[in-house]
């Protein structure tokens, strides 16, 4: 009798879970569907739902703009229409678990010690406590890197993203010298990296896979806010991977940022929490804001392990 009951309740529970899953998948698809019903293309694309399930939907249901074969280079350079991507990082929530770094490396097919996101230990003065500080490309509104690029290989798009054209970059590395945040990395043609790119370049098994590839040999690479995921309404890999929800990503025009779990009004969040941008005095106008490391979720624990020791 008891056993039976146990079984049935477990079955119930499973049924509940499945129902919930379907409901969530439904909302995810609904979210991806555009306002006007588009024509079915018959082409299926995989879409990741909010709870991490892969669902196949018709490609016409997915909003896509730039970074698509059907788009001219001109359109790619304009970016996703009507969006202005923005990011808020809650320093009180970062515990240097490095999940964002690893998720980004997998999503963009590159290997350590290269990191688009770097988590640094910062301490302003001895009396203050140290905190973890995730940095990445800030997609500045007054970008010092696009100023110096000799061939327009890095450029500011209308959706706020500072993008890279790996086919055009000549590898002069001036943008790397110009970036005060050291956000850019260079593909020096490390043999392991080249092999990895060859083997995993078209590997889409990673649910966070980003179609914007890793830079070609001899060109500059950097965080691109997972632009092709963003245009589908999917959060960038680092946001999805962060276990503490420290990275909030969103659209400035929608006035919303989210870490996948909680969603906040952007302006209110920035105003209420004393947000700041790194090196405001440089006038670069970053699109990444930081919430000061107050009201921390956990005490600061120093990293005992160095991760990128091997060249």
């Amino acid at each position: 009798m008891e056993n039976e009951n146990n079984n049935s309740s477990r079955r119930n529970f499973l049924r509940l879970g499945a129902l919930g899953g379907i409901a969530l998948a439904g909302t995810a698809i609904a979210k991806a569907v555009t306002d006007e019903a588009p024509k079915e293309t018959g082409k299926k694309v995989k879409v990741l739902t909010a709870d991490g399930k892969l669902v196949e939907v018709d490609s016409s249901h997915v909003e896509h703009h730039a970074m698509n074969d059907n788009y001219t280079s001109e359109e790619i350079r304009q970016g996703v229409k009507g969006k202005k991507f923005i990011r808020v990082i809650d320093l009180g929530k970062c515990a240097n678990e490095r999940k964002c770094i690893e998720g980004c490396q997998t999503a963009h097919n590159y290997i350590a010690p290269v990191e688009y996101i770097k988590v640094k230990k910062m301490q302003n003065s001895e009396l203050e406590s140290p905190y973890w500080f995730p940095t990445m490309c800030y997609h500045c509104d007054n970008p010092p890197c696009t100023k110096v690029c000799p061939v327009d290989a890095t450029f500011k798009r209308e959706d706020g993203i500072v993008a890279m054209d790996y086919d055009r970059c000549i590898g002069c590395k001036f943008c790397m010298a110009a970036c005060p945040y050291s956000a850019r990395t260079f593909n020096f043609g490390k043999p392991e990296q080249l092999k990895f790119t060859e083997e995993h370049g078209n590997d889409t098994s990673d649910p966070n896979h980003c179609r914007t590839p890793y830079a070609q040999e001899g060109t500059v690479a950097k965080c691109d806010f997972c632009t092709d995921r963003s245009e589908k309404g999917l959060l960038p890999a680092c946001v999805v991977e962060c276990p503490n929800g420290a990275i909030l990503h969103g659209d400035e025009l929608e006035d919303v940022v989210t870490n996948g779990e909680d969603t906040f009004r952007l302006k209110k969040l920035l105003q209420d929490r004393g947000a700041y941008r790194q090196f405001e005095e440089l006038g670069t106008k970053p699109r990444v804001y930081y919430l000061p490391p107050v009201a921390r979720n956990f005490p600061f624990e120093d990293a005992t392990e160095a991760h990128n020791t091997k060249d």
Partner: protein, 181 residues
């Protein structure tokens, strides 16, 4: 006494499993109505199950955004008429002024999940300001270099190369002067 206990436990379990199995069958339907009351945006979610308004079930209201739904205030329980009343803020931005509003009941003990959505013209229209991208500036693309920049650099380059070309022409002039004699 012991036996009695066992009997009681079994009875409760039976009752519980019956209740849960019945509960699953209960489906709630949400109907959204949008109205303006004293210039406030009021959204009412009527929860009905089997044609009967349901009270005391908490409903969440949210607005569709690119990545996720933005909750509108806290969850509100339906009143005796089965209606949960929300005030939607006036300042939610939207590209075309339309807002896609979701009302949902999630993980309720009785009604599980239910969802309804509707579109309403309550958004504040925002226009994407691309002035920093489109204007001619030093950080813009090659086609958007500042005019003064293009003019002055062409002027300097032209001047210098003018002299250099002049010098080359002088070499040929020297040759001409040589052969003339």
């Amino acid at each position: 006494m012991k036996n009695c206990n066992w009997f009681m436990v079994t009875c409760f379990m039976l009752l519980f499993s019956m209740a849960t199995s019945f509960a699953q069958d209960k489906e709630a339907k949400i109907t959204l109505t949008f109205e303006k009351v004293d210039s406030l945006n009021v959204c009412k979610a009527l929860v009905v199950s089997d044609g009967v308004p349901v009270k005391d079930v908490s409903v969440k209201l949210s607005v569709k955004r690119l990545y996720s739904n933005l909750p509108v205030g806290d969850a509100i329980a339906t009143d005796s008429t089965g209606v949960a009343t929300f005030e939607v803020p006036q300042d939610i931005p939207s590209r075309n002024g339309k807002l896609f509003i979701f009302a949902n009941i999630s993980d309720d003990e009785v009604y599980m999940n239910a969802e309804a959505s509707g579109e309403v013209n309550w958004g504040t229209v925002v226009v994407s300001d691309n002035s920093n991208v489109k204007e001619r500036s030093i950080s813009a693309g090659r086609n958007a270099a500042p005019i003064y920049f293009i003019v002055s650099s062409l002027l300097v380059i032209g001047l210098v190369w003018g002299f250099l070309i002049y010098a080359v022409l002088q070499v040929f002039k020297i040759k001409r002067l040589g052969s003339a004699n």
